[in-house]
Amino acid sequence: MTETEKFSIPIGPQHPALKEPEHFVFSVDGEMVTSASVRLGYAHRGIEKSTENRNWAQNLYLLERICGICSHTHALTYCLGVEKLAGVEIPPRANAIRTLVAEMERVHSHLLWLGVAAHEAGFDTLFMYSWRDRETIMDLLEQLTGNRVNYSANVLGGVKFDVDEELAGAILDGLDYLEKRTYHYLDVVTTDAAFLQRTRGVGVMSAERAERLGVVGPTARASSVARDVRIDAPYAGYDEYVPNLIGHTTGDLEARFEVRIKELFESYRLIREILATIPEGELTSRMPRRIKANEAFSRVEAPRGEVFYYLRSNGSDKPDRIKVRTPTLCNMASVLTLVIGQQLADIPMILVGVDPCFSCNDRMVAINRGGRSEEVWTWERLRQYGIDYYGGSH
């Protein structure tokens, strides 16, 4: 096989669950992967450029809508950055409320992920139940913030709303229920035979590899890389409400499930702590409309890993440049490099393994031999190929 072969993994353009559609292309020399690239851009809207034409307040809502799943994370990262730029200190109560919403968002996001992952594995019952229980936290978020997704909880300089006794009580009740259910899900993902055969030992990533590739979030932590911005560089209220780092050593899919579910318990604990000890005080500080020329970084731990913002102001009421780095992009970058120099047969495992979301990974591969007829490879066939290649010891 001397010709260069190209694989491309088309990701269903219509995709009810989530995530931007992406498109992988692998070039292969014989058995060896020589290059890998990814095509993004189906959901590329040009947000970064548009921030330069909008004022600081408008950008808050634009950036919040980079992604509806971690919307609060993006809004929070932006607010923290802008407040740093302007040198504004926000009241402690506002900080606590921001942290509260962030943790509630983590709960919703992890439950969502559990459901989607189960759906991808063909376990619709688990999907239905985890989403049923997720409604509990969605209701609470709606009661607290006024919207189920894209909460718009933040304003520059603080938050929009307060928590009172009654709401706090409702949240605590909701948590009690969720905690019970979470124990059950932990049990399911760690013991269900049918489910484990899709996750145990699949997509293993060693600690060293994860470390070097700059993988972030639960994916990194499942490979025993202790990386969590909430602990490393506490922001908002996290210096008072300190999460414990949840790690795992095996680095396979099962570990990633376990890490995420165990993080839920941490979030429940933090939420309870916040509600018990929330400081009194104002909700907002005054923000200037124009911000002097300056630059700042802002890092926040999203449910899927570190979000990184670079912000630069030039003295006007609009930013000069805002750069957004999302965790998914970061983990994607590591996939691409992980496969170079690997055997073709390893690709599926690596893809499934590194990416925190599987929606598109379990799809298929088309091979184009030197531009001639397009031969179609299924995921299964590729996997089968891998099994055969390694002597069928599977």
Partner: protein, 304 residues
């Protein structure tokens, strides 16, 4: 004249179709209830099928149009024929002869074959993969499935469905004496119907809708109906053989619904198997178990 009516309306044709839709509803409703939701209304399958029938049927380019149109008809005709040999609604089968069991089982496979061919014919990549998976799966469960249905035939000493039915009615329920066969037959039926965990051939998350991705309108409706009929015929056979025979409508309803209930439960409680795992399960355990049971049966014959 009466025979023609039997063929077209009762217990053949129309009745089986309606029965099939009703059972599809029961199945979907049960799954919905198991998942703590309300689920579809009672006329849902009817509405679905009528809608598909009246909708436009798109015939994609570069397919063999004649095959594209005839395959669904063949599929439905096949299973309808199979249904004629099965004691639907507790009445004696419309037709019956020595050896009709084998014919029935093969007629039931016709649907799967047609699905596979339909997928291969459309040349869409998802369809192709779906077709490959469908056929792979067919070849893996066919043998154990057949063996599981032949075991009752052997003890009854006949290859005729009505006689095995009578035998099962007179003796201890075969599910007690041949539990392994019963389980394998049930799982085989699930494989045939491509319901979870054996739904890899149409895994929506992976290959959209498998072999039938390109079908719309009438063709899709016929495949759907075919599936429904297969469901009825399959569980009727299962109930007749393993649950002590079916001799009247009441028994029919109770026993087939019992099988359906088990079917729905299993399907809700498990995750999908990958296609290689499906094949593995069948060849490694399915065949082995059935053979074991055969050995036990032969042993029992010899001893008593």
């Amino acid at each position: 004249m009466i025979e023609l009516a039997a063929l077209l309306f009762f217990p053949g044709g129309l009745f089986v179709l309606l029965n099939g839709m009703a059972y599809e509803w029961v199945d979907r409703k049960l799954v919905a209830r198991f998942q703590n939701r309300v689920g579809p209304r009672w006329f849902q399958p009817l509405a679905d099928n009528v809608k598909l029938l009246v909708n436009e049927e798109v015939i994609p380019e570069n397919v063999d149009a004649r095959l594209f149109i005839t395959l669904p008809v063949v599929a439905l005709a096949g299973v309808l024929t199979a249904a004629l040999y099965v004691p639907i609604a507790g009445f004696d089968p419309a037709f019956s002869f020595e050896g009709d069991l084998i014919v029935t089982i093969y007629m039931l496979s016709l649907l799967t074959m047609a699905t596979g061919l339909a997928g291969a014919n459309t040349r869409d990549r998802f369809s192709l993969i779906g077709a490959t998976r469908t056929l792979t799966q067919l070849f893996s469960y066919e043998a154990p499935f057949l063996l599981a249905f032949l075991a009752p035939a052997v003890v009854a000493g006949s290859w005729q469905i009505s006689e095995i039915n009578d035998y099962a009615g007179d003796h201890l329920w075969l599910i007690l004496t041949q539990p392994i066969g019963a389980i394998v037959a049930l799982l085989g039926l699930m494989g045939k119907l491509e319901i979870p965990p054996f739904d890899a051939p149409e895994a929506e998350t992976e290959i959209v809708a498998g072999a039938l991705t390109e079908y719309s309108g009438r063709g899709l409706a016929l495949f759907h109906l075919g599936r429904n009929v297969e469901l009825v015929a399959g569980i009727t056979l299962l109930a007749a053989f393993y649950l002590g025979g079916i001799s009247n409508p009441i028994e029919y309803v109770l026993k087939t619904l019992a099988v359906l209930f088990v079917l729905a439960t299993v399907q809700t409680a498990v995750a999908r198997l990958r296609i290689d795992q499906t094949v593995g399960v069948w060849w490694r355990y399915g065949v082995l178990l059935v053979l074991l049971q055969w050995l036990a049966l032969i042993g029992a014959e010899v001893i008593f």
